[in-house]
Amino acid sequence: MIKRFTVMLLLAGLGAIFAGLIQNYVPDEELNLTAAYYAAHTAKDIGAANIVTAIIVTYRGLDTLGEVTVLFLTAAIIGLVLSQGNRQQQQPQRKLPPPGELLVTGTRLLLPLILLFGAYVFTHGHLTPGGGFQGGAIIASAMLLLLLSNPLKRFSHRLITVVESASGLAFVIIGLLGMVWAGGFLDNRILSTGTFGELFSAGAIPIIYALVGLKVGAEFSSMLVSLSETEEL
């Protein structure tokens, strides 16, 4: 009883703070200094139509590198935590019912389309809403569909690791090339910024985002595979 009362008291206090925040909130009429800089300089300097992408990949590229590192650590820790113990490949105790006709055919039909859509989203990150993280998540959803249609399916951890490390390494190398050929680490102008609004424009952004997409897709897939392997059959 006293526990519930404490929880309610805490939430009421937080609610009061939030109410005060909302009441005194005055929306900006103008962009603040940082945002105005990004709005004014993105098209000229970076050549990306999507300003959010320009911020993530170029202006704040180092943060993105840190972010994919955090994701890598997460995937690695999940693999470590879940791998101890029941590693032995146990045979299923009971006979699994076969997956339905609709699920199997639907998976075969949808899988290439989902992969294609994921690749589209991460290669067009500098033009449309989307990018490496979203595209990677879509690719991982294709892996999830495969696992749903066949829970016994085992993916090669080695392949996932190779894709993941190779794209991470290429990401860092492109960043370092920016220090040699352009203004600094992860500068996208090592390639020409091209025609504004074309697919091959915005310098290295499409390449970096494709690498981020592969890396994120591999990391999410590795999490899914690790979690699915704990399933007791």
Binding site: R4, V7, L10, F18, L31, A36, T42, A43, G85, A137
Partner: protein, 119 residues
Amino acid sequence: MLATIAMITGFLLILIGLYGALSNRNILRMIVAFTVANTGVNLVLVAVGYMNGRTAPILNDAIAAGEAISRIIDPVPQALVLTAIVIGVGITALMLAYTYKLYQTRGSLDIARHTELKW
């Protein structure tokens, strides 16, 4: 107006999530509650960047590069929220993995059965 509604919804989601995390005893339910609170935080952050009568920060035929400053909303919160969502997925996956290990050691998902950290 729209930003205020989004903000109120976000704050409500945070409160609902915290209530769920504090009042449930099942660890899986706590994780779900945390993701609800996480969504609330993201919604509030995006709402802060919204400005009345402006459009998404993507330049195309409708918005020329020159007039971007007066036409687009603040792109910085959107970039931050993208990061927050991705890290949120990682945190949720970690919580689920640890929950699985806890279940293996105790055979129960009730938080009251895990007394090692209790004082």
